[in-house]
Symmetry: none
Subunit: 223 residues, 4 copies
């Protein structure tokens, strides 16, 4: 045993990290599942149980339940931001926008925790903010191109898209267990509302990026 250790000191380190990483992964997986199913008010104990660790182990990695939720939200936003970046480079921007919105809404629908977290302090975390900014930037590119192609009305912004997505997702979530996928229908209607045909002037200004990112409510159900 000593030999092995001596031969490759890194091994020891790697082993530890592997172990920790495995646990961390399990925690994140469990948290993602539990938050997705039960929403942000899920208890840490429930997550710990699903992960097969003690609650203290979770609090070692994430000083606060809110931090854990933020980590999950971060993953989710990262995925959406990636989709948006990909979509931004597409040849057919109208189609790409539609596809992006479908995939984003699908992601949101599956994640009650994410929906609960929207508009809370969780989104004020720098890491999340950064990803949101990235997402918005990609979306703006995509939107610009879609507008030039005549597929989208001129007066909508990237911030509008993110909020409308949230709207469809939240409402869709409510009926999801009764009619899975029903949200597609509502997204279709919203998408039609985004088209230039029959567009009527909007009565309010779009949110600025800062407004979009402003932390508002305390994190959900964290006392």
């Amino acid at each position: 045993m000593l030999d092995v250790t001596t031969i490759d000191p890194l091994r020891d380190e790697r082993a530890l990290r592997a172990d920790a990483q495995r646990n961390l992964t399990r925690i994140l997986e469990a948290a993602a599942e539990v938050f997705a199913e039960a929403g942000a008010e899920a208890s840490v104990a429930e997550i710990a149980e699903r992960a097969g660790v003690g609650t203290a182990t979770i609090f070692r990695r994430f000083p606060t339940k809110e931090d854990l939720l933020a980590a999950i939200v971060e993953q989710r936003v990262r995925g959406i931001a990636d989709s948006a970046r990909e979509a931004a480079g597409s040849k057919d921007p109208g189609k790409a926008l539609r596809q992006f919105m479908v995939s984003a809404a699908a992601a949101y629908i599956g994640d009650r925790g994410y929906c609960d977290a929207a508009g809370t302090r969780v989104f004020a975390q720098p890491a999340v903010q950064e990803l949101v900014d990235e997402l918005v930037a990609s979306l703006e590119q995509l939107l610009q191109r879609a507008k030039e192609a005549g597929e989208v009305r001129e007066d909508v912004s990237a911030a509008d898209i993110t909020i409308l997505l949230m709207a469809v997702a939240q409402a869709g979530l409510k009926v999801e267990s009764v009619v899975p996928g029903a949200w597609h229908r509502y997204l279709d209607i919203v998408l039609d509302g985004l088209r230039p045909e029959g567009a009527r002037p909007l009565s309010r200004k779009a949110l600025t990026r800062k407004q979009l990112g402003a932390a508002r409510a305390p994190a959900p159900h964290c006392r």
Copy 2:
């Protein structure tokens, strides 16, 4: 006083009922306020305090916090249903629909408790169901006339309207404290999506009334 009581038991009963009725009214008013401001997770104690009664008095009338919330939701839905009935008789169905949706969304936005309750067991209560049915019926009339007037696409249903309203309200609520009234913008877009111009076929069927009413999640934040 004692004499009077003895002489006419009915009077006593009446007096008690008046008292009880007054208490009930105060409870409902307080609950409406508190739930609207703080959402469904508001504590019963807070409501009792605002109503100036003991918590036990509340539980005498409403066996469960959920039942109290349901009563409030009932009031809210009743108001919306009234609006819908009124709108259904309007001369200009397109305009009436728009006005109805604005007022309904405004009502939802101002009521966090209602938004929290949407899609939960609370909506499964018979009294609420009944009112929802009434609301949907009025909306169907209104919609039919708006379609005939060419103001609304043919393929949307009353259920769609209620869900889209919820969508706009929930998303609007998240940004309401940052940019009050921003939800008007999102409602505008949705309204444009409901118009016949540029309407594309919807990929899913509308929800039936039964599906719309099916209870799903447990009541929010009740342990």
Copy 3:
């Protein structure tokens, strides 16, 4: 029963209050004992158990463990302040001061919680502050008369007395279980230090009342 109730509506109220008062008394007694024995870091659970109530019952009366401790401290300070007021009116101020300091030190010695609380946020509570001010005022009277009688050096203040008492008590507490009452000896030495004979100039100014009352540390062991 109705008759009785009707005759004297207060009875019902009194009964409730009597019940609550009894529990409150038990809580306060238990808290006084437990804090006195185990210090401020004693757990609320321990106090609840000794009082024969649930912890939630304690938290209903005292929103915070710190508030409970403050209530106990308040009682203690009130007792000391009463002693001081009485002593201030004595004929023999030198003897009265000595007796006061003995009784105060004895009170402190028996109360670890009080000693732990000294110099913490607990003493910043208005009710406690007020009593401390009263105590200091009485002490100043007493001191003035003792100085005039030539029993106390001119340069000491009431604040000095309270701090020296604390000093003797804290140190005395450490040896109390080994040699009960040993603190008398240390108090004797301090009392001799307060006499005019052989008094040497003090190198620092006395604390002002405000400085004496300034909240400093967070409450002990309250997380």
Copy 4:
């Protein structure tokens, strides 16, 4: 590296010891700092972090947090004992006693951990006891000479001095953040109390050495 290790095991051992010694030193330094600042309830994790080692490394050397605190206390007492030994040889015993008490009180004041540990099981550790005995022995010499010089009353003992120091330090600590150095004033008064002028008979016997060293309370804040 492997070769060297194999060739000369002692070398390896020496190297390890040097390493271990360095770690031990860092742990002790960190613990001294942290305990001094935050008191005995400082967490082991904080000390480990400041020392740049893992917590397990600390527990390897010190089976218990209490043992670590004892080691720190030992250092502190050693320093005080050194001062006392030095003072005992001074030409002007009255002045030397005063200077010793000032420096000792200053040391205590700067060390919350030490103050927390006073009168607890920590002082029962043999190593600490031994140093306390040494301290007391030096103090007795010093006292004897000071008494002979007429600077100190006849009836005080070395144990009294150590306890009065503790008293001044503990009380001084409470006001230290408000009026730094205020403890000098209280020490002045105690010093005057130790002088022969106006000394009145003490009502209790001095503690014996054994009594001074008897362990009493459990170690502070260790669960």
